[in-house]
Amino acid sequence: MAKVLVVTSGKGGVGKTTSTAALGAALAQMGQNVVVIDFDVGLRNLDLVMGAERRVVFDLINVVQGVAKLPQALIRDKRLENLWLLPASQTRDKDALTEEGVKRVIADLKTKFDWILCDSPAGIERGATLAMRYADEAIIVTNPEVSSVRDSDRIIGMLDSKTARAERGERVEKHLLVTRYDAGRAARGEMLSIDDILEILATPLLGIVPESQDVLRASNVGCPVTLNNAGSAPARAYSDAVRRLMGEQIEMKVPVERKGLMDRLLRRRAA
């Protein structure tokens, strides 16, 4: 049974696209058939983070408008054969994406894939509501920062009221993914702790991704962080998150990036 998952946040720049790519790749590594869809019409970036930017011919809007067929727009990942991308359009006409069209595309994808990951645009406007519209589950990406937590709260409210499931009286299962977490700073009281965030947002925790140079390094080369350096702390955090999504019980650890002396000395030059 296909699952539609939206990766959302409200605030921009918290790591929705990075997380979509990393989670999508990790799911595919576990043998699942996965498609990641970029809903950020006008400002597409998922193709870039996945390293497929030069292979985009048709996009989501083309499919919605009937210019292209779905198989023509789907791009297969070069590294994993069961990972696919449906890119966003760079057209500036955001109204080209209709609710009816999105519904049709998602219904179509449901027959072909196990997981459909929707990378939401930032904000609370139409693009974000369309991305979450047909979601069965939602991952809310949050940084340990006041503006991000506040916007996540708004998004949680929208997930409970504006999705197709909510309107049918059903629930969209919600998961919190905290990114750019620095356990040391949290311990020193310089950063909201996981417990603070969980208490404020009252949403179950899916994973904690540590602040790490590996994340930027992976997006620089256009490779999901879970594939680029599978042993790195963020990759392990994303892999654990995916296993939790699939129902495994895994102890929640705060992953720490190990830094050697040379790393510390060369910190400014790395990444």
Binding site: V146, V149, D153, G157, G189, E190, M191, S193
Partner: protein
């Protein structure tokens, strides 16, 4: 600055962040949680009170704070002095 922090010169800012968020979200959840309910309450309270007192519709603030165990409905109505149409009705 780092040295000062090392010697315990300054407490972390996270507790402040946490407190600010809790206060802010308590207000915002009331507002966005059930916009229809609050708008209905607002217009009905407005119509009842304005039967007896001249009111500026903008001077009515209705807010709902949702707590874990108890929710609070706060109605704040500013009544201008000396323009009562009939006898004043206490409304709060």
């Amino acid at each position: 600055m780092n040295l000062m922090r090392l010697f315990g010169g300054r407490a972390g800012s996270a507790p402040v962040a946490r407190e600010r968020l809790q206060i802010l979200l308590a207000h915002e959840r009331g507002r966005s949680g059930a916009p229809d309910l609050l708008e209905t309450l607002r217009s009905e309270i407005l119509s009842v009170v304005s039967k007896h007192v001249d009111l500026d519709p903008d001077k009515i603030v209705i807010r709902m704070d949702r707590g874990k165990f108890v929710s609070m409905l706060e109605v704040d109505i500013e009544v201008p002095n000396g323009v009562q149409r009939s006898k004043m009705v206490a409304a709060s």
